[in-house]
Structures are given as C-alpha cells and as structure tokens.
C-alpha cells in the first residue's frame, strides 16, 4: 500500500485514457506524456496501459507500507527516498516504511510514478483515468489528497524477477536502483525553446497569410492559464481573413485552435470532445510529449510537417518503443544473471 502524506500540486491516477465514449461527451482524459508513462510501466514489468500517478510541478510525499518496485519517468521533480536522491528512468526497489518525497522541478513539468502490479482501482468506462470535473475514475474521481491509501495490484513474474535482483543489492539501504537506464532519445526532456512539429489544421486556410507565416516562424509562450485541458499561448496574434462562423466538430489531442481574440489554445489530455473554434494546426502525435512537459513561462517554436510525414513518424516511433520494450526485458535479464 502507498499512503499519501502530502498531495503535491496535482497528483492524479491516469492511464492511456477513456476511449469510445467521446460521442457521449465523455472526455478522453489520460496521461499528458504517454512516452514517459509507457516507459515507467515497462520498467516495473507492467502492461504499458496500467495506470500511473501523474505528478505536476510539485510532487507529493508518500510512504510505502511494503517493499515496492517503482519507476519514475518524465520531468525531473527531484525525487528522494529518506533524503537520498533517486534516479529517473530506471527500476527502483523501495523498502517498506520508506518515504518518497519530491523537491523542486528541475526539468519538464510532469513525472510518472509506476508501481509494479499497478493500482488496484476499479475501471470506469474501461479506464482508471481520473476525470476530475465529472468526479469519476482514478481514486474516488479526485486528485490525490493527504491520507489517501492506494492499494497495489499483483506484480508480474517479470517484476518479481527484477525485485529479487535488486533486493540482493539493497545491503541495508532504503532503496536500490538498477544501474542500467533508457536510451537518451526517449529521456531527453525539452530544450530551452523546443521545436514542435505541427500539421496545417482544418481551417488553416481561413487565417491571414501573415498569421499562417507567424505560426511557423515566431515563438509562443505557455501562459499561466494552462492545465491538463489545454495550454493558452501568448505570441503574435493569429487573425482570420474574414469573420467566419464554425460549427462544432470533434477535436484531437494537440489541436491548436484560435478563439477570436487571436491567442491560440493547444488542446491536451482533458480537452472537450468537440470544439467550435477554427483549428490552425495540429501537433504531430510524436511531439505531444514535448508539449506536455512545458510549463507556464516556457517557450515553444512550431515547425511545419506534412500529414504524411507526421504519420510516418508515428509509425517509426511505435517501432522504436516496441524495440525498447524488448530491449528492456533483455537488458534486465542480463543484469540479473
């Protein structure tokens, strides 16, 4: 069991999201940075879609009541166990009674904490993701609070092997980390002004030539009015060629829509199912993790990518992740010999 002793800024249970119900107005929810979430799960022998805790900027404090295999991936929120720093992107065995705390946010914005066996929580509409506004999913439909107690599921056989190997290295310490970690192509979080690839949106042609140019040449800042639902950006104003009424239709993760005042909004994990603002762009799926790790005040530069290339990048990324999955199991088996 994990007992929360301090909730942090926004800590919620998330998996890949709730799909198949958007036609009923039920938002998808789910993790913001799916790559970090997937890798965190792989490192503790879980299915990629098992729920993790998504931690935001200021992480929570928690106590483990039993020996637990964990992994923390994504942004560096300075995790430590009983005062000693813990490394990201690797399997970590934490002893019963240990306290996991988080300090300042060094890189990125969100970290994912996976535990072997996942969280023993009911699925609502096929997902454990927390849908805060409707109060469903996750832990009682809410972000985690002080004194919440999370029951854990049964670890996989692979997780048991990792645990056994790491237990041998504990040597009286509160935790033991795997020496080996993930290739940097997956772990390097955002440069100071990252480039994010964007396809032309469905209403791209409605915008003035100047606005179209500026989207791909100037930089935009993430404002403080940004959350899991969407990021409001500040930068050059984007204007329509002429006032045009749009009828509401489906939107996507990474849709860049522009309300009439001209400041774009990037729709993210907790986006509404449909929207009525013109869509100037659509972020390529492979670059969504970069966007999700930006925090208020960070800047971003959009570069144009074609729909065809974006889809090819998508397929390539999935292939890489599949290889990574096999690599992890191979590497860990070698380490444990």
């Amino acid at each position: 069991m994990i007992k929360i002793t301090k909730p942090g800024l926004l800590t919620s249970v998330q998996d890949f999201g709730r799909y198949g119900f958007q036609k009923y107005g039920v938002i998808a929810s789910g993790v913001m940075d799916s790559t970090a979430h997937r890798i965190a799960n792989l490192l503790v022998g879980n299915d990629e879609n098992e729920a993790t805790l998504e931690l935001t900027l200021l992480g929570p404090d928690m106590t483990f009541t039993e020996d637990t295999l964990i992994s923390i991936c994504g942004g560096n929120l300075s995790p430590s166990v009983d005062g000693k720093p813990v490394k990201l992107w690797r399997s970590v065995l934490v002893k019963a009674g240990s306290k996991l705390k988080f300090g300042g946010c060094k890189t990125g914005c969100r970290a994912y904490l996976a535990v072997a066996g996942g969280f023993d929580l009911p699925e609502v509409m096929n997902s454990k993701s927390t849908y805060i506004r409707a109060g469903i999913g996750g832990f009682n439909g809410k972000p985690l609070q002080t004194d919440d107690e999370l029951q854990l599921g049964k670890p996989s056989e692979f997780a048991d092997q990792i645990t056994k190997g790491l237990a041998a290295e504990l040597d009286g310490q509160k935790f033991a980390e795997m020496q080996w970690t993930i290739a940097s192509e997956f772990t390097s979080t955002a440069a100071s002004k990252p480039k994010v690839r964007v396809m032309k949106g469905r209403q791209y042609d409605w915008f003035t030539h100047e606005s179209q140019m500026k989207l791909f040449t100037e930089s935009f800042e993430v404002t403080s009015q940004s959350d899991r639902m969407g990021y409001r950006l500040k930068g050059p104003e984007l204007q329509l060629e002429k006032e045009q009424e749009m009828l509401s239709e489906a939107v996507n993760f990474g849709t860049i829509q522009v309300p009439s005042e001209g400041n774009p909004i990037v729709l993210l994990a907790d986006r509404q199912t449909t929207g009525g603002y013109p869509k100037i762009g659509q972020i390529a799926t492979v670059d969504l993790p970069i966007m999700a790790q930006l925090k208020p005040g960070d800047k971003v530069q959009f570069t144009e990518v074609s729909h065809e290339v974006a889809q090819q990048l998508y397929l390539d990324r999935e292939k890489q992740l599949h290889q990574l999955k096999q690599g992890i199991s191979l590497k860990i088996k070698q380490e444990l010999k």
């Binding site: 799909y19 009923y24 509409m125 449909t274 889809q311």
Partner: protein, 234 residues
C-alpha cells in the same frame, strides 16, 4: 451518400457531410454513426459526431498498408460510405424530459419572460411545446446541443455567469436551449430543472440522449419532481 474525407491529425479522419445545420444533414450524420457502430473496423478507436461531420479516430499501427495508413482508412471508409443512403421516413427516438419550471429551479424564468414581453406561463407553454432535435453531444458528458427552440423565448447569456449550475438545470442561451448533465459553471438563463439524469457513468451508455433523438419537455410540479428524483436515485 456524398461526403469528403480530410485528416484531423495523424490518427484520425473527418467525414464531412454538409455545410450547415439542418435535419437532412443531421440524418446523414446519424446514418454514418450507426453504420460505424455496427461495422467495427479493427483499426477504429472510436467515432465522434459533430453538427455536419463524423470524426473517426484510428490506430495507425493496426493497419496493414503498403502506403500510408490514412490512405487505407480512406479507401475502406469510402467503399462503404458510397453505398450508404438515408432511409425515407425514418422516425427519430422520442425522449421525454420532465421539467419543473420556475421557482428555485428556474431563477431566471421571470427575466426571460420580461425580456420577451411574455408571462412566465407563456414561456413554459412555448418551451414545452417545441419540437427539439439533438444535433450532437459535446461540451460536457451527456450535454445535448439542441436545435428547434422558438425564437420568441430567446434570451442572451447572463453578464455574470454563475459559478455553480446544478445538474439537471434547463436553460436558454441566445436561440438555444439545453440541459446541464453535471454541475458546472455557466452563463445560461435558468428556467427550470429536470429530475432525470442525463449523465449515467455506470450505465451501459453513459448518456441518456444521443445525436438524432427528438426531445419533448414535459412540465411537472414540485411534488412530481420529488417523486421522479426518488425513482431516479433508486
């Protein structure tokens, strides 16, 4: 059936079925939706209807394509969509929504009446005798975009939106009427409240209403409201 296909990102395609809000286009949207409901393509994640469109989300990794997954999805969809036709005289499903108008449930009923030089009773009469169609569900879980409200009871949104509008509230915003499925902030003028639950997270389908439904608002008393509510909570 005539249609256009366009990408909505690298994992989805949007089927365009017309340009404006009308019953005809709504029926095409409904036809395509029920086709997608029955024809479960391996690669389909889900579909989302809009006023004049249906978006299809897919998993690009589940498509065996020599070229791009998008091209394969378009080809498969087109082959089916070309053959689809809206049947003549298809009757919509009628859903009755009981509403207790005015009082604490509808604090803005009198304002809506005054604005339109009507009595509150006349507003109730007009509102509950309209023929309404659900064009789509969106904005919030189970929230219906409803067409067909009589313009004689139109009223602008409140200047100061309420921070909390209780679930079940029936309101008017401009020429639209709607029902709030969950508690939410909002600027609609509230004229009543229904005891029926529009969002059913435990149900087989989480939304009472679906695109294409016809709605009938039925005025009820406070006592009827209470007994309905008890029944709903059972």
């Amino acid at each position: 059936m005539e249609f256009n296909l366009q990408p909505l990102g690298d994992n989805s395609v949007i089927i365009e079925l017309g340009e404006d809000i009308s019953r005809d286009i709504q029926q095409k949207v409904k036809k395509v939706s029920s086709f997608l409901e029955q024809q479960s393509f391996d690669w389909m994640v889900e579909y989302v209807p809009g006023f004049t469109t249906v978006a299809v989300f897919y998993d690009p990794c589940k498509i065996e394509a020599k070229t791009l997954p998008y091209d394969e999805v378009c080809e498969e969809l087109s082959a089916h969509l070309e053959k689809l036709a809206v049947e003549e005289g298809a009757e919509p499903r009628i859903v009755e929504i009981p509403v207790c108008y005015g009082g604490e449930f509808g604090p803005d009923l009198e304002e809506v009446a005054e604005r339109n030089d009507l009595t509150p009773e006349e507003v109730i009469d007009i509102h509950s005798n309209g023929e309404y169609i659900v064009y789509m569900i969106g904005f919030a879980p189970g929230f219906p975009y409803i067409g067909g409200m009589d313009e004689r009871i139109a009223a602008p949104r409140r200047k100061n939106p309420r921070l909390k509008i209780p679930a079940g509230s029936v309101g008017i915003a401009g020429k639209q009427t709607g029902v709030y499925p969950i508690e939410t902030p909002g600027g609609w003028q509230l004229i009543g409240k229904t005891p029926r639950k529009l969002f059913l997270p435990e149900g087989e389908t989480p939304s009472l209403l679906q695109a294409g439904d016809q709605i009938k608002f039925v005025p009820i008393s406070v006592e009827e409201f209470q007994s309905w509510e008890e029944k709903e909570n059972d």
